[in-house]
Amino acid sequence: MAHAYTPGLKVSARASLRRHRVLPIPGEVLVAAGQRVGAREVVAQTFMAGEVTPLNLANLLSVPPGEVPECMLKREGETVRSGEPLARTKGVFGLFKSQYHSPAAGTIESISPVTGQVMLRGEPIPVRVLAYLAGQVVEVWPGEGCAIETEAAFVQGIFGVGGEAFGRLRIASQARDEPLGAGHIREDMADCIVVGGGRVGLDAIRAAQQRRVAALVAGGIDDLDLAAFLGYDLGVAITGSEQLGLTVIVTEGFGDIAMAERTFALLSAREGAEASVNGATQIRAGVIRPEIIVPLAGAAGEPAAGAGAPAAGILEIGAPVRIIGDPHFGLIGQVSALPADPQALESGSRARVLEVALRSGLRVVVPRANVELIEE
């Protein structure tokens, strides 16, 4: 036995999931423990300090910085409306006074006699946290947020763009290797999460944007299509904050890859159910993978399966694996041998390898680093 270098992605028909929904700064939690919530329900809210407008009144009024406090018509802590007089110079013998009107509404935060700078803080910005999961509030941290639990079918993708989205699950492809094209995206798919089998094409993405589809899920995507969709070449895999009006999740990787059989079957079985998805991906320092969550009604699930971060699994004879490196990228099989000693690869490197029995009956030898376990 040996540890897999790459933890596999979770694909589970029933798992107990818990998600923490926490405010970025302290605020108010609107739900109580035990309460059932819908995915789109606001569970906590707060106000972030408003934008700051620095105003260099010494320059604006042409006075030395030390005189700025005396010129102020408003004191620190007072509020000011947009266009309201904010400061006035004393002028010469009371004449030729110049006045400065506030360019924005806000509160005077500070007046500096050193630099002549006045900091004007704008209206607080509301921040709302949605439940994201339809389920039950199991824990509340007053002022901070809450934890929500649900029983759900759970699929982790390998890569995604766009943030949280919600909608009814619709299966657009007939088979797990059928590419997703514009023709698959129908008028009645607005606000839905549309699942394809193989590679999702740029035409399908454009059509989905046009028809206000909430999210697309597919096996693979071409990097060129992704760049066209994003409008730039993605450099580092930290995503989720894109404002594209559409979340896209791929379950297998880049290129022409069919969705794993189990994933496609699981999503197909849940067609029509309400689901929550998140495209946010982060590969470095605290891995975050995109996810598709389809809450189940009633019945208890397997205890805590899939709730935490996936741990590195055990590679053993018979374990189902996906090859994640060339020249066999995307192929699925079972581990058929685990030689202990490092072996020479075609590249000339020496590495620990394993043998995979592919579904075609062919057996191939690949570095252990180039497989991932298909986990449940």
Partner: protein, 605 residues
């Protein structure tokens, strides 16, 4: 921390807690000489579910112990000290870059002057600089405030103004930082550590602006006069705060700090420290590079001046897509001599990005990976050259206006002709199947000129030796010289360009009992055997228009060092230019691949 008597140290244990792997080495005094004897590694355990760095340390140390036949972990689960009866060690030291390393934001008044000095201080201390805020950074004040709010650095360094100069601008920067109410990365449990190293006259005003909002520490001005930098006090304070705040809040580090016999250093800070020490002791000009999955660090010491840069998004796995975006695929493919399909390559790059632990299995995949590495290294070195400059704004100034006009004149101090030693580390360089490939990547990316020794860090030991040098410099030096570096050989390359096929230089190599001579034409690359440990004298007579360091066309005689690769005589010219036409480029690169026997022949069609 225990008191250490350096003379009594027999067994030294050092660890480096990286983002993914914790590496441990054992150094023992063998017949009066310090030697690195065993190494072990284990996954780093900073993240959940373990969330305790010492678990990874114990695992890595246990592996070393098993290999050495020495019990290093005591019954209480900590490191056993002192060494007695074949068990334990006398000294334990560690470096760390786990959890994303040390992340800082720096600010100054003028981007090219005090802000640049502040950036140099932070980088030199081993930090990743997330952003540089300056009065002339072309952002509007509210944009700067928004940026400071968005970032969640471990600490902030503010500088600005020479001592006795105007205070207004630096106080203005401090007011912006105060308004932004920056939050530290590890949550709101403590106040943001903030170092002020600017105009001493402004200290009371800085205290007023920031004293209540941050954990303010004041140190000497890092640019007391325009003509001089004084980075030491700021760097030391960064190290102190790193231990006090960053380390203390990372999982398990409170325990690790208690175990260690010397302060834990940020990994890049330790690498820089050892390279600086070695270069100064030997009177060398040296460049070191560490190419990782996410970042590439470049360190240089020229004429005793140390510089470090971190290219945050140039790396071979997490950041490989960014290398391709910045360098562009056509430029990367200049180094590939076999046909490859663009669409397939783009997908391959992204698949590596999302599954960063995969390794190249085929020759094609290896060739492509090494081509990407050349461009990542080239870009990182270019950034380093632009940063490692003479102080800007100090020459012949008469008025402030003149000073500002001259600041663009800060010349890079990186001079490839003066470069004596180029040291490589990081996966793609260290684990290349053939060392010839490592040498070729270094030469193609860095384009050393004149006579340059090429080496690689055998097992990435430089961080351990850097921190050890703080306690026992002699032991660190001894191990560095004997066990740390693997010499690849020497590159001999004149500066200048010419028409392919035209004479470039002639050479004569004299070693014990052997004399070899020949001519190199423009575009030629020749490998001459000179084994590790061997030295020879080389006489190079460049043609007109080519310079080996003594001036165009002038003869040069130098001692050269052999290695696992040998002598590389490079007549391809400097700067190194490749044909624009892809087919011609591929033919030429294929020739070079043959000349250096880089890949098993025949390469796949």
């Amino acid at each position: 921390m225990r008191t250490i008597d350096p003379d009594k140290l027999q067994v030294i244990l050092a660890t480096d807690c990286g983002s993914t792997t914790t590496k441990a080495i054992l150094i023992e005094r063998v017949e009066g000489v310090y030697r690195q004897t065993h190494r072990g590694e284990a996954p780093t355990t900073v993240e959940e579910p373990s969330a305790d760095v010492t678990i990874g340390v114990v695992n890595a140390v246990s592996e070393v112990g098993e290999l050495a036949g020495r019990r290093l972990i005591g019954d209480d689960g900590t490191i056993l000290r002192p060494s007695r009866d074949g068990a334990g060690c006398d000294l334990y030291v560690s470096t760390s870059s786990a959890g994303g390393g040390l992340q800082m934001m720096v600010a100054g008044v003028v981007m090219q002057m005090t802000a640049e000095s502040a950036k140099r201080a932070a980088l030199g201390a081993g930090a990743i600089v997330m952003d540089v805020i300056a009065a002339n950074d072309k952002r509007r004040p509210h944009e700067r405030i928004r940026r400071i709010r968005e970032l969640r650095p471990d600490m902030i360094l503010i500088s600005g103004g020479v001592d006795g100069g105007t205070t207004t601008h630096v106080v203005e920067i401090a007011e912006l930082v105060a308004s932004a109410k920056p939050r530290p990365r590890f949550g709101g449990q403590y106040r943001m550590p903030l170092i002020y190293a600017g105009n001493r006259e402004a200290r009371p005003m800085i205290e007023k602006a920031l004293g209540e909002r941050a954990d303010l520490r004041i140190v000497e001005n890092l640019r007391p006069v325009l003509e001089r930098e004084n980075l030491g006090p700021a760097r030391d304070m960064i190290h102190d705060l790193f231990l006090e705040h960053v380390m203390a809040h990372a999982p398990g580090y409170d325990k690790l700090m208690r175990w260690a016999d010397a302060p834990i250093m940020p990994t890049p800070g330790a690498v820089g420290s050892i390279l600086e020490t070695i270069a100064r002791r030997a009177g060398l000009n040296a460049v070191g590079v560490d190419i990782g999955g996410a970042t590439t660090d470049v360190f240089s010491v020229f004429d005793g001046v140390f510089n470090r840069t971190v290219s945050a998004n140039l790396g071979m796995s997490y950041s490989i897509a960014n290398v391709c975006a910045e360098a562009t695929l056509p430029r990367i493919l200049r180094w590939v001599h076999v046909p490859m399909e663009m669409r397939d390559l783009r997908n391959r790059v992204k698949n590596k990005m999302i599954r960063p632990t995969t390794i190249p299995q085929t020759i094609d995949a290896l060739i492509f990976e090494q081509a990407v590495a050349r461009e990542a290294l080239r870009l990182a070195y270019q950034q380093h050259k632009e940063f490692a400059t003479t102080l800007k704004g100090v020459q012949q100034q008469r008025t402030v206006g003149d000073t500002f006009r001259q600041k663009a004149g800060g010349q890079t101090i990186v001079d490839n002709m003066k470069l004596d030693l180029l040291v490589a580390s990081g996966g793609v360089l260290s684990h290349a199947p053939r060392m010839h490939q490592t040498a070729a990547m270094l030469i193609d990316a860095f384009e050393p000129e004149g006579v340059t020794v090429l080496a690689k860090d055998s097992i990435f030991m430089m961080p351990h030796l850097g921190v050890l040098a703080q306690v026992h410099p002699a032991a660190a030096m001894a191990v560095f010289e004997r066990d740390c570096l693997i010499y690849l050989g020497t590159c001999v390359a004149p500066r200048g360009t010419g028409k392919p096929g035209r004479a470039c230089f002639s050479y004569r190599i004299e070693s014990e009992g052997a004399r070899r001579e020949g001519r190199i034409a423009v575009g030629d690359l020749r490998l001459v055997a000179l084994a590790a440990g061997e030295r020879a004298r080389i006489v190079v007579e460049p043609e007109r228009g080519f310079d080996m360091g003594a001036g165009p066309g002038r003869r040069v005689e130098r001692e050269v060092r052999g290695g696992t690769v040998g002598l590389v005589l490079d007549g391809r010219g400097r700067p190194l230019e490749l044909p624009e036409d892809p087919a011609a480029c591929r033919r030429l690169v294929a020739q070079w691949v043959d000349d250096l026997a880089l890949y098993p022949a025949p390469a796949p069609a």
